[in-house]
Symmetry: C2
Subunit: 307 residues, 2 copies
DNA sequence: ATGCACTGTGCGCTATTCGCATACAATGTG
DNA sequence: CACATTGTATGCGAATAGCGCACAGTGCAT
């Protein structure tokens, strides 16, 4: 069987159902000429008469009745399939696979998932945490969240928010620091984040004009941000951490911000999508929710310490 | 959902199955350009990305996986349906509905059905006996058998054989007739067949040159041929009957042919088909069998009486 | 009988689509 | 970093879809 035109089945079924070429054409919104010709071609393809025509009546042959019964099922199934696809393309539904870095995923994305699943009960979520860049299409990732500073290669990233970096310390250590300018801060023990490209050199700025660059002396270097946080909480030294990680410790007083009047370079929160022409609503819905969450800064800029 | 092109489903499925546009194109025997474009159009129709493409890998999206699963089923069902139709169009199979006159149907067609059903076990037969002309397509008749002399209206009839008309009588009556020329036969009691157009005037012929026309005097007129036969068997008079009806009585001696050297006009046995482009094999097979049966004349022409 | 309305189909025509060949950007692979 | 391979964009010819029109056949109401 070498590839018979499936579209003609719809015409044929319409004629049988309507009992007339003319009515079928009206129902299909095309000329009766076309219906007649299409059915004729279907018959030619199958080498069978499917319909016996009089000017007054159209009656299916045995082969016609056979094919009609099958075609009705086929067409209904096709309609169902298209309907299902349409459902996915118009409503947030289905499984959403999100890739995110470990720290941001744990601190921000994961808590947001509860709300997302509550808002869109037809969605389920797979959160894939990884700090490495993974192949989006190979892993069926719908949206990947990249935090920090993008290298030029990821062109198709879209910035949905920013995060600030805060110099923090455990309260006991913070009490020993009285400086209100960064100049001598490099005398303090520093926990370097080995995951950053430049973990030691930090550019402080204040009020649009005051700028200082300080090279910290690492008391220790840890290449995973959550571990840096843990060490900092334990009083191991100062460290620079993103706001979304230290919001809670600052709130509870487990950490204290040092030099709160000075800002460090802020980074971007980006979404990256696999190259697709159309974006499913589940992705749009989630990104909208994440963007709202991320635009509401967890720490007011230039706020004071919470101790 | 306004009529999505079903043919593209095959292309899409081929790509997913092959995991590559190029391999799918090879499998389909067309260019990869076409496959790419067709899938792109399907996606445009559905307003959805079905495939995520890299030059190295092609992976279906969630909608794509959904549609793939459905499409595989749809395509398989379509193939099944076409296969079933092909079965009907190539092999004698299915229900064969035959229309025939009461007399010929009873005497000739009905006995033949046993052989037909034995030869083609995949066929079942509906024999519709009626002396009136019925609407072939309204009654789903595959082939109608007309016996006798067609009026000009039935153009699409095909002659598959002939029958002879025989002047017969019961043996007791036949013994009283000694004539060997038709001239005085009109003195005998005659049973007229009211179903004929001209039941009384008969044209006898012998050996290509001897011709006589006789007008019989009806002792009785009966408008159903089988009843004429019954009256003749009962000795009610001479009558003219088709060979297929009197073959058995002549064989057993229940009837005797009168003037066996003289012939009466013979009639045709015709098939009439509903106007269809293609003829199903079940019809062809049956007509072939009927033609063979009918071509073998039940009574040798110019044979002698069997008394 | 006889218009008459209506059926399905054939014909000429145009717009769209199918399909091919070629060229090209992107991406792994050695 | 050359190289092969992938999917896509482009231009072009052929096939198809679809339209309007005209026409023969058929049932219905006179």
């Amino acid at each position: 069987m070498e590839t018979i035109n499936l579209n003609r089945l719809a015409y044929f079924v319409a004629v049988v159902d309507a009992g007339s070429f003319t009515r079928a054409a009206a129902r299909l919104g095309i000329t009766k000429t076309v219906v007649s010709q299409q059915v004729a071609r279907l018959e030619a393809d199958l080498q069978t008469s499917l319909l016996l025509r009089t000017t007054r009546r159209v009656e299916p042959t045995e082969a016609g009745r056979l094919l009609h019964a099958r075609s009705v099922i086929i067409l209904r199934e096709a309609e169902d399939a298209f309907g299902e696809v349409a459902e996915v393309t118009t409503n947030p539904i289905g499984t959403l696979r999100i890739a995110a870095p470990n720290d941001f995923g744990t601190s921000t994305v994961a808590p947001l998932l509860a709300k997302f699943c509550r808002t869109y009960p037809a969605c389920s979520v797979d959160l894939v945490l990884s700090d490495a860049k993974i192949d989006l299409i190979a892993h069926h990732i719908d949206v990947s969240i990249r935090v920090g500073w993008l290298d030029d290669s990821s062109q198709q990233a879209r910035r949905i928010g920013a995060f600030r970096q805060l110099l923090v310390a455990a309260p006991d250590l913070a009490r020993t620091i009285s400086a209100d300018v960064p100049d001598n801060i490099d005398q303090q023990p520093f926990i370097a984040n080995g995951a950053l490209r430049e973990p030691l050199v930090w550019h402080f700025s204040r009020a649009d004009f005051d700028r200082r660059t300080v090279r910290m002396r690492p008391a220790m270097t840890i290449n995973a941000t959550p571990a840096v946080l843990a060490a900092t909480l334990a009083g191991g030294g100062l460290s620079v951490l993103p706001d979304f990680l230290v919001a809670d410790p600052l709130q509870t007083g487990a950490l204290v911000q040092i030099l709160p009047d000075w800002s460090l370079p802020s980074g971007g929160i980006h979404t990256v999508y696999p190259a697709a022409r159309f974006r499913p609503p589940k992705v749009t819905a989630f990104v909208a929710m994440l963007e709202a969450e991320v635009k509401r800064p967890p720490i007011a800029p230039h706020g004071s310490t919470t101790s």
